[in-house]
């Protein structure tokens, strides 16, 4: 036997069933919205870095959740690429260390130099028909694999 329940009755019953968990859902939703809005703050640290018809931008993102973390990202853009491309992302070893420098010594190579990093989160090794070489003086938390490398 199939019992047919009108839609509005079904919704009413569902609403009644959800009532006990409504406060938790509201609190959880509020926390989610508040955290999602402000969790990460990204600041452009250096922009308008022009090298051989390419433009680079360096940003720093600090996130605060239950604990704090930070990252520095290097983006590149060129006439032949769509928008900006993430080239390099790393954890800064300290808050007052110099930003990475970018050199384009020839038609095939881009060199990104940074004296010290906490860890490397992402490295792109080819972009815009050029190979990207990294001169990283020191990695405080080196990874043993190359899973982040592409």
């Amino acid at each position: 036997m199939v019992v047919s329940i009108p839609l509005k009755h079904a919704l009413f019953l569902l609403g009644m069933a959800m009532l006990p968990i409504a406060p938790f859902a509201l609190i959880g939703g509020a926390i989610y919205v508040l955290y999602a809005v402000n969790a990460c703050i990204t600041e452009v640290r250096q922009d308008g870095i022009f090298r051989a018809n390419m433009q680079f931008r360096i940003t720093e993102t600090n996130c605060s959740t239950m604990g704090e973390d930070a990252s520095v990202s290097v983006y590149g853009s060129s006439a032949s690429s769509d928008g900006k491309t993430l080239l390099f992302k790393y954890g800064p070893a300290s808050y007052d260390l110099p930003l990475p420098t970018i050199e384009v010594p020839d038609q095939q190579t881009i060199i990104i130099t940074v004296p010290i990093v906490s860890d490397v989160a992402f490295q792109l090794h080819t972009w815009n028909d050029r190979s990207i070489k990294y001169d990283i003086g020191q990695v405080n938390y080196p990874r043993t694999d190359n899973e982040f490398a592409r």
């Binding site: 999602a36 239950m66 973390d69 954890g91 808050y95 007052d96 003086g137 080196p142």
Partner: protein, 416 residues
């Protein structure tokens, strides 16, 4: 040179010497400003054998690298079986090394640059003879054995490249108390000192190890782990005048967090080598954590309020150490007008997470799990491939805060 194998290997044991080190490149004069800015404090750990004074040296392949003297900590009076009068701190002055003078049992001749050792750090004010490079010739005072938690060691000479530890918890370094003699010679094998992280430039030469040296036997605060270039360790004498470890006012002026008792938390990411904080006293974090824990447990026991215990814990924890919380020192402002980032307070904010949760009664695993889950959902910098999904530096300072809380340094004074 004695090339015979150790005749009693059991005697030597397997110990680890933890050094709080400071790194500077070749040719750079050490000063509190430049060397700290370059690398800050770091931890170097070396497998070592400790040989009681008077015992024969182990010989090849061991090399003598230091002379150590166990001294009880100030608070190490419990369980003492020693009935002799208390030894003054100054009487425990460490056996030192004259510049360029081989240590007894030292079976390697070293170059002059490697013998630039100065006296070991004497961490109490007014220790005679401390911090003078040439004044402390070998004079190990006889002192009774007392309960021991830490030891001061005078590192006389460079050894092979040290192992720059990257794998161990910085606050869990331990060397067990040894034997009945207060004085020990410290030996290590060259093979235990693997080459340092390869890096270009002038960082390759380990120059000397001295000063700021501790061998720990308990939960003490050591420098956070860091893989850093080989080192020249800054001596106490090179600190700016008036900046002694116990000078709380100077430390507060410097912006350092000062723990109860006047100690600080080493921080290699800080320009001063100490963990920076907008407020020196972190006791309110511990108090808030304890209050939260007490209320949580009260709610749990309550027949009517137990359902609200977990939401209470979550909301209170986040309002204290979550984003923009009372002890989130990295964020200034509010959600309506927006936050300003203060990245120099990243480490202390993570430290506060660990301290608050420890005082609230959470386990370290629960603390890291909660922090990792929040980071995984909300942070674009979360490291999902790392333990708990946390950035390693973040996890490290949460752990340091937790263990400092567990050490009892923030515990309330007992009621009378």
């Amino acid at each position: 040179m004695n090339n015979s194998p150790p005749d009693n290997p059991k005697l030597f044991g397997h110990h680890t010497v933890s050094l709080r080190a400071q790194f500077a490149p070749d040719g750079v004069a050490l000063s509190i400003t430049n060397s700290n800015a370059l690398a800050g404090f770091n931890q170097v750990r070396i497998p070592a054998a400790l040989i009681p004074d008077g015992a024969s040296p182990p010989g090849h392949p061991y090399e003598h690298i230091a002379q150590a003297m166990f001294t009880p900590d100030r608070d190490d009076t419990s369980n003492s079986t020693d009935t002799s009068p208390p030894q003054s701190r100054s009487a425990a002055a460490l056996a030192g090394t004259r510049r360029g003078t081989p240590m007894p049992g030292n079976n390697t001749q070293r170059g002059p640059r490697q013998f630039a050792a100065v006296s070991a750090n004497a961490p109490w004010p007014g220790a005679p003879g401390a911090n003078h490079a040439d004044s402390n010739s070998a004079a190990t005072a006889s002192m009774p054995r007392r309960p021991v938690r830490s030891a001061q060691a005078n590192f006389s000479a460079a050894a092979p490249q040290p192992h720059l530890d990257n794998s161990q918890d910085p606050v869990n370094a331990a060397v067990l108390p040894l034997g009945a003699s207060p004085g020990f010679a410290v030996f290590s094998q060259a093979a235990d000192w693997p080459a340092a992280t390869s890096r270009p430039g002038p960082w390759h030469d380990l120059q000397l190890l001295n000063d700021l040296t501790k061998m720990d036997t308990g939960d003490r605060i050591l420098a956070p782990k860091s893989s850093s270039p080989p080192t020249q360790i800054m001596s106490e004498a090179q600190r700016p005048p008036g900046k002694t470890e116990g000078d709380s006012a100077a430390l507060e002026q410097e912006g350092a967090a000062v723990l109860p008792g006047g100690s600080t938390v080493p921080d290699p990411h800080s320009a001063t080598g100490r963990m920076l904080s907008p407020v020196a006293d972190l006791s309110p974090v511990a108090v808030a954590g304890r209050q939260t824990g007490q209320m949580y447990r009260t709610l749990l026991r309550s027949p009517t309020g137990s359902g609200g215990a977990l939401p209470y814990l979550a909301v209170t924890t986040l309002s204290n150490v979550g984003q923009g919380g009372a002890f989130d020192y990295q964020r200034q402002g509010n959600r309506l007008t927006g936050f300003t980032q203060l990245p120099q307070y990243r480490d202390v904010s993570n430290f506060n997470v660990g301290l608050f949760c420890q005082q609230a009664g959470l386990s370290l695993d629960e603390t890291l799990t909660a922090a990792g889950r929040f980071a995984g959902i909300f942070s674009s910098n979360a490291k999902l491939d790392q333990p708990y999904g946390l950035d390693q530096q973040t996890a490290e300072f949460i752990k340091v805060g937790y263990k400092v809380g567990r050490s009892g340094v923030f515990d309330p004074a007992p009621r009378r």
